[in-house]
């Protein structure tokens, strides 16, 4: 009786939540991505022009987020910074997913000792927080937009590889794969045109989570001053800069912070919506 009631109520709640989460996530991340895409071609002000007259100007109609210590328009700079952070995160996820799919597919489909060894390596990499490992590698090779993209991209491979491997290990025992093999399809064809489409629904939520982790990792590293280097703007670097002027221009921190949170929130809701849709 109770169990039934509980079961029903969880079902109805998740059903009702799935739609709202997914929709809000779509709208929010769609809005952020749209703003970022526009900013690649047009920003309200130039991000480098300094205007001494509006140094630390509070938000107003002409500068909707106010101005920074050099009198630059904060809104334009946030758009530029968000663009950099977004591009880095997209590249990181791309590297992670593509290499992850390749290694996960090969190890999951063929198994054997390479599978065993590669998965142990993945286990040990994922045991450590990505930021910690990235810090160490940056110490050796130096930080810039390109290096941190590669470092984070490589560090994100295991999480994708593991998911893909699980799907492939499961799928290779299924009837559709067996019959494809009987029909003489090559391993390559089975892996990428038969199994891969079935692994995508599992991969999608992982991609959104990975995107969020990438935004977070890049922002943290840039905040610490070892990620994106000037003159490139990034949300993390801007937050570190805004913190210095916390007393003079508290809205600077506020707007940069809200941008980071909205970017992450949108994609995390999207990911969760996708995950619940799958069930």
């Amino acid at each position: 009786m109770l169990a039934k009631k509980v079961k029903r109520s969880t079902r109805s709640l998740s059903k009702q939540k799935k739609n709202t989460l997914f929709i809000i996530g779509c709208v929010l991340s769609g809005f952020m991505v749209l703003l970022i895409l526009i900013s690649f071609f047009w920003t309200p002000y130039s991000t480098t022009t300094m205007d001494a007259a509006c140094k630390f100007a509070p938000p107003s109609l002409s500068h909707i987020m106010g101005c920074d210590s050099y009198g630059r328009d904060i809104f334009s700079r946030i758009l530029e910074g968000a663009g950099t952070s977004f591009l880095i995160a997209v590249c990181v996820v791309l590297i992670g997913t593509l290499v992850g799919i390749l290694t996960g597919a090969l190890t999951g489909y063929f198994g054997g000792w390479t599978d065993e060894v590669l998965m142990r390596i993945c286990d040990s990499i994922t045991a450590f927080p990505a930021i910690l490992l990235a810090l160490v590698i940056v110490a050796l090779v130096g930080g810039s937009k390109v290096t941190i993209t590669w470092i984070l991209g490589v560090l994100f491979i295991p999480s994708f590889a593991r998911i893909v491997r699980g799907e492939y290990a499961k799928a290779k025992e299924l009837n559709y794969v067996k019959s494809a093999r009987l029909m003489g399809a090559s391993s390559f064809r089975i892996m990428f045109s038969h199994i891969l489409p079935n692994a995508i629904p599992v991969l999608l939520p992982a991609i959104t989570i990975g995107f969020n982790n990438a935004v977070l990792a890049e922002a943290s590293m840039s905040y610490l001053g070892i990620g994106v280097q000037p003159p490139d703007a990034s949300l993390g670097r801007m937050l570190a800069e805004a913190q210095i002027y916390l007393k003079n221009a508290p809205w600077y921190v506020l707007f940069v912070g809200i941008t980071i949170v909205l970017l992450i929130l949108g994609f995390s809701m999207l990911g969760e919506g996708l995950q619940q849709k799958k069930r």
Binding site: L2, A3, V6, S9, L13, A127, A139, Y223, L246, L265
Partner: protein
């Protein structure tokens, strides 16, 4: 017992692999001799220093020497401060350890009751608002919370003076007071994630057959929750809490920078910027040891909490 031995064996292997990687990265690739001499290096002085440091010897010999002295507590000498690295770390380590421990404590103490509460009132107004709040707080990076706390509680309400760190050597109460907000900034996103996990884990268990059986025997809902469900629901959460420990260490490195707490994180960053590799190497080894040992304990705890899992 066999399981324990196997786990200890893998623990040692992992540490050896990490130490080898750290050695190769910082002693072989980074070339300590030229890093020590900097721009004043001449080919002759470089060769002399290499001879002195024993860098001409075969790499396995060097690794073995480095490892034995490392195990004896000799972590080398800092390039920039010409101080033994071990004493530099020993000064900073307690601060970071206390900060992580403090945030871990806050996380456990608040998230478990909140998770149970939220699951208990599933679908209620409080549960629903908590779920929304969780979703938002999960998306706030700890360093951003730190900056917001600095503004609200430091500059605004004057609960603490930003940057005015009090060492535990001077005053324990002042030290803990200064650590409250950094610890909260680290803990809050983690609390949100743990509450969410525990809630869904409890709800998942609530739909099981054994709950119905217990209910039919006349147990109350609360009794079922505390005596039957919680034991099962907590198991997946333990693994999550263990990985949280590693994440908390990573966050505390960043948070130290936000609140100007002179711990391991600040030392690590300044060493990275100064290219002071012996310090970076030693800190990496200490942090890795920390993370690996925590994961080891989590594995054992996991076994202990769920005797059904016998992985040997």
């Amino acid at each position: 017992m066999k399981y324990l031995l196997k786990k200890i064996f893998t623990l040692i292997i992992t540490l050896l692999i990490v130490s080898l990687l750290a050695f190769l990265a910082f002693q072989v690739i980074s070339d300590p001799a030229s890093a020590m001499l900097g721009t004043s290096a001449t080919p002759e002085s470089l060769a002399a220093l290499r001879e002195e440091l024993g860098l001409n010897r075969p790499i396995p010999v060097q690794y073995f020497q480095w490892l034995t002295s490392f195990l004896q507590g000799d972590f080398g000498t800092s390039y920039s401060y010409s101080m033994p690295v071990a004493s530099m770390i020993a000064q900073k380590l307690p601060i970071t350890a206390l900060l992580t421990f403090f945030s871990f404590l806050i996380m456990i103490v608040t998230s478990i009751p909140l998770g149970i509460f939220s699951a208990r009132r599933e679908g209620g107004l409080l549960d629903r608002s908590l779920t929304v709040i969780n979703q938002v707080f999960m998306s706030i990076p700890p360093f951003l919370l730190g900056v917001v706390f600095t503004y609200c509680f430091g500059i605004g309400l004057k609960f603490f003076v930003p940057g005015n760190f009090v060492s535990y050597r001077e005053s324990w109460t002042g030290f803990l007071e200064y650590l409250i907000f950094p610890a909260l900034a680290i803990a809050i996103p983690r609390i949100a994630m743990t509450v969410k996990m525990l809630r869904s884990s409890i709800l998942n268990q609530m739909g099981r057959e054994y709950v119905r059986t217990a209910r039919s025997r006349g147990s109350t809902k609360d009794r079922i929750l505390t005596h039957h469900v919680l034991r099962n629901a907590i198991i997946p959460v333990i693994t999550f809490i263990a990985t949280s420990m590693a994440e908390i260490v990573a966050s505390s490195i960043i948070i130290e920078q936000v609140f100007a707490i002179p711990g391991i994180g600040v030392l690590l960053l300044s060493s990275i910027n100064n290219r002071d590799f012996p310090v970076v190497q030693a800190i990496v080894m200490v942090l890795v040891l920390w993370v690996v040992v925590v994961n080891f304990i989590a594995d054992l705890l996991y076994q202990f909490m769920d005797p059904r899992i016998r992985l040997d």
